[in-house]
């Protein structure tokens, strides 16, 4: 009985992985297809990768996305880490937690138009800075969540010992707390980076003339027709995000720890 069920679960797992990875594998394979058509194989080719490298608009958008993600990662890592430590030292309250975490739950479109209305009211010019502001709002929450799980493993008595030995709060933080939670901070930063690089809806509404980000560019490419260059872009994005994710994962897990928290856990 149990064996049969386990066989069923096995099959289910295989089907699930097929569902999850078929589209990705297809895109990656197509990115090397000389014919560029999804339906016929025209031989191996790197043509679309070359096209990608000469596509100035695309490269400019990648540059913009990297700039945005750079700022976003820096700001939200600092704010999120502080937030996590601060929350750890405050009254634990589920209500407070859920309210603070709202920006991570609320549908993007609501946050996007809310920020747009707000920037409009204050006569902010839209650009890189408005996208950064918007991304930090939800990214710092993710960082806070991740750092917090790491803080869970941290014994606060060490901090107290440091204080007893005469270290001031700043010193204690820099020399004791921060090194202990560093893996969590780095993982949080990586997640923040990944989320910002891929964010479309909020950037779409809050970008200005010179701040077309990579997802906005990709959206426009998709809207304007299925071009093989997208496949090459897809393949690269897959590989890069795969690597970032694996690194993030290694860092959140203290050695020998069994649960993996990926920043979206309940």
């Amino acid at each position: 009985m149990a064996a049969r069920r386990s066989r069923y679960l096995h099959l289910h797992m295989w089907l699930l992985f097929t569902f999850l990875y078929l589209p990705i594998v297809v895109l990656v394979v197509l990115s090397f297809n000389a014919s560029g058509l999804p339906t016929s194989w025209g031989g191996f080719s790197l043509e679309w990768y070359r096209d990608l490298l000469s596509n100035e608009d695309l490269l400019a958008s990648i540059k913009n996305s990297l700039i945005v993600a750079g700022y976003v990662t820096a700001i939200s890592t600092v704010l999120g880490t502080f937030l996590a430590i601060g929350l750890q030292r405050t009254v634990r309250s589920r209500v407070l937690d859920s309210v603070l975490f709202l920006p991570a739950v609320i549908p993007d479109i609501v946050l996007a138009i809310g920020l747009l209305s707000f920037f409009n009211l204050l006569r902010f010019t839209l650009g890189i800075h408005t996208i950064v502001i918007a991304h930090v709002v939800f990214d710092m929450i993710f960082v806070a969540a991740i750092v917090r799980t790491r803080l869970g493993y941290f014994d606060r008595r060490i901090e107290e010992a440091a204080a007893d030995l005469g270290a001031n709060p700043v010193k204690t933080f820099l020399l004791v707390t921060l090194p202990a939670i560093m893996p969590g901070v780095v993982a949080g930063a990586l997640v923040a980076f990944t989320l910002s690089i891929d964010e479309f809806v909020i950037a779409f509404f809050n970008s200005g003339p010179g701040s077309i980000t990579f997802p906005i560019r990709v959206y426009s490419m998709i809207r304007f027709g299925v071009t093989p260059v997208i496949n090459a872009v897809a393949a690269i994005v897959m590989v890069v995000s795969l690597l970032t994710m694996l690194i993030a994962l290694r860092l959140t897990r203290p050695k020998g720890e069994r649960s993996a928290n990926l920043g979206v856990g309940a």
Binding site: P23, V91, I106, P169, I222, R223, V237, V264
Partner: protein, 298 residues
């Protein structure tokens, strides 16, 4: 909980300063760029649209009255329906997967989990685009089915509600697996082993023990899939062929095409209202299960 924290707080009363320093910047950012913008949106929903767009600061309830037009109720209903189906399908796919992973040998669990989650960390737009390539009438799946002699005419797989639902499931499935896995793992094998000792059949164990006790994980997963599906406008836009309109599309349309921000804000309120309802249900479930667990522990 508070009972535990209170003495600790008293003991560290002197660190109020650092705590303000720690929480201050984050909370300030949160207030300035989340709370206030949402507030602005709420305020806009009570004002009048200016000619050719913009907002005229004259209070009115007309926008809300208009939202009750059968058209928008219909769109909202469609969105709730599609998001619900996507959630249900994700649950059916995710629960067995989570079960499988929990029962796998310890060293396999994390790699399996990572494999489930990885696609989620790659570009959302590109993953959605992949389905255009796969599903379109001249696409891979139809070509394979025709080539294999299964069908003569291409199946209408793309540009309909089916494609939109599929796209949403694909986009958010990992968000369902994670919390279910977390709650299954927390549960551990003991309760089901105990039940089996009492001669419960595996399916009884699943129905009467495992599923009820992992309900918080299920509910959390459902929220993670339902809420973003509800407000999504990209998937209907790209996979719906302009023939499936969800509330996100209408909100986007009000802000861009019609330039009727106040009305767009009202529609956003409907999304927020639905989200609040869903979160309230979650809080309720969470409380109940905690009571059950406390009972168990005692």
């Amino acid at each position: 909980m508070t009972g535990v924290a209170a003495p600790a707080r008293r003991a560290r009363g002197r660190v109020w300063g650092p705590r303000a320093v720690l929480l201050g910047p984050g909370v300030a950012w949160w207030v300035a760029f989340f709370l206030i913008p949402v507030g602005v949106l709420i305020a806009y929903s009570f004002f009048r649209r200016g000619p050719y767009g913009g907002v005229i600061y004259e209070p009115t309830l007309k926008n809300y009255a208009r939202a009750f037009d059968s058209l928008y109720i219909g769109v909202l209903w469609t969105s709730v329906r599609i998001a619900s189906i996507a959630t249900a399908v994700s649950l059916l796919l995710a629960y067995p997967a989570a079960l499988f992973i929990t029962r796998a040998p310890a060293r396999w669990r994390v790699p399996l989990l990572v494999l489930v989650i990885l696609p989620f960390w790659t570009s959302f737009l590109i993953r959605t685009y992949a389905w255009i390539v796969l599903l379109n009438p001249a696409g891979l799946i139809n070509k394979m089915l025709i080539g294999g002699g299964v069908i003569d005419e291409p199946l209408p797989l793309l540009y309909n509600e089916f494609a939109v639902t599929l796209g949403l499931v694909y986009a958010y499935l990992p968000l369902m697996v994670l919390p279910i896995y977390a709650s299954l793992e927390r549960l551990g094998p003991q309760p089901s082993e105990a039940a089996a000792d009492l001669y419960a059949t595996p399916s009884q164990v699943l129905r009467k023990i495992t599923i009820p006790l992992t309900l918080p994980g299920i509910v959390a997963g459902c929220i993670f899939v339902f809420v973003p599906s509800l407000g999504n406008f990209i998937v209907p836009d790209l996979l719906g062929g302009g023939q499936t309109v969800m509330i996100g599309n209408v909100i986007q349309q009000q802000f861009l095409q019609a330039r009727d921000w106040p009305f767009g804000a009202v529609l956003a309120m409907s999304v927020i209202a639905l989200m609040v309802v869903v979160l309230a249900v979650q809080a309720q479930v969470h409380r109940r299960t905690q009571e059950v667990e406390h009972g168990r522990a005692a």
